[in-house]
């Protein structure tokens, strides 16, 4: 797995603010703008927590696979 990847797992997606009607959700170059808006609505500490949750989830999956 590359050291840096897209953050595709979003366990607290329900916190994502509603996108204004008409505002594009995907940019012309394929970037999910709703994820960016959601992340920007959080404080830096909360953003770090999102990343931590993602990494912890992946590590848990890896550990479970190793145990099999």
């Amino acid at each position: 797995m590359p050291a840096q990847t897209w953050l595709c797992h979003n366990p607290t997606m329900e916190l994502q603010p509603e996108t204004a009607p008409g505002a594009p959700s995907i940019s012309e170059d394929g970037v999910d703008l709703t994820l960016i808006r959601w992340m920007l609505s959080l404080s830096p500490a909360e953003r770090l927590e999102v990343l931590q949750q993602f990494v912890t989830s992946v590590e848990r999956i890896r550990a479970e696979n190793d145990a099999d």
């Binding site: 797995m1 590359p2 050291a3 840096q4 990847t5 897209w6 953050l7 595709c8 940019s27 170059d29 394929g30 970037v31 999910d32 703008l33 994820l35 960016i36 808006r37 959601w38 992340m39 920007l40 959080l42 404080s43 830096p44 500490a45 953003r47 770090l48 927590e49 999102v50 990343l51 931590q52 993602f54 990494v55 912890t56 992946v58 590590e59 890896r62 550990a63 190793d66």
Partner: protein, 165 residues
């Protein structure tokens, strides 16, 4: 490399701060702190290479039980000469991977980057210097590896969204 070393970014940063280490958060963690929806599995920091800071950094690395992850079986620990050198130190710690970078982009070291950093509260009362999103983008454009090229559109869009009134 042990696959069970749990990563804890906040704990890692807290140890560095508690030892008074002068450093700037760059890379994926820096991007996330600015609101970019990217992920990373290591913490990249650029540290000051002045003698007093190297001593403080050695204390922090000792507490973190750090060793070079390139040869994990040897458990080689970084010394002052390594941390003062222009090379990158790719370490494993008890809180996950830590990359100590002497410089990023076109030889931008701690002194050059500090004025392009912002201080952020990242939880539990811990404040750290984080490279500005504009400079993070500039640095990635200077190096332009495959990983950087994949991330750049997200960083540009994050900066654009952030700049909206």
């Amino acid at each position: 490399m042990p696959r069970t070393t749990p990563t804890d970014f906040l704990a890692l940063l807290k140890v560095l701060r508690n030892h008074g280490v002068d450093f700037i958060v760059v890379g994926g963690v820096g991007a996330v702190l600015h609101g970019a929806p990217v992920s990373t599995f290591d913490l990249d920091v650029v540290h000051s290479r002045d003698d007093a800071n190297i001593e403080r950094l050695l204390g922090a690395l000792d507490e973190l039980e750090s060793y070079y992850r390139t040869q994990p079986e040897k458990r080689l620990r970084p010394g002052a000469s390594h941390l003062s050198s222009p090379g990158h130190q790719l370490l494993m710690t008890r809180f996950g991977p830590l990359d100590l970078l002497c410089a990023v982009g076109r030889s931008r070291d701690y002194t050059a980057l500090l004025r392009h950093s912002v201080e952020m509260l990242i939880g539990q009362g811990v404040h750290v210097h984080v490279l500005s999103l504009e400079t993070l983008i500039a640095v990635k454009e200077e190096t332009a590896g495959d990983k950087d090229l994949a991330t750049l559109p997200i960083l540009h869009r994050t900066l654009a969204e952030k700049s909206k009134p």
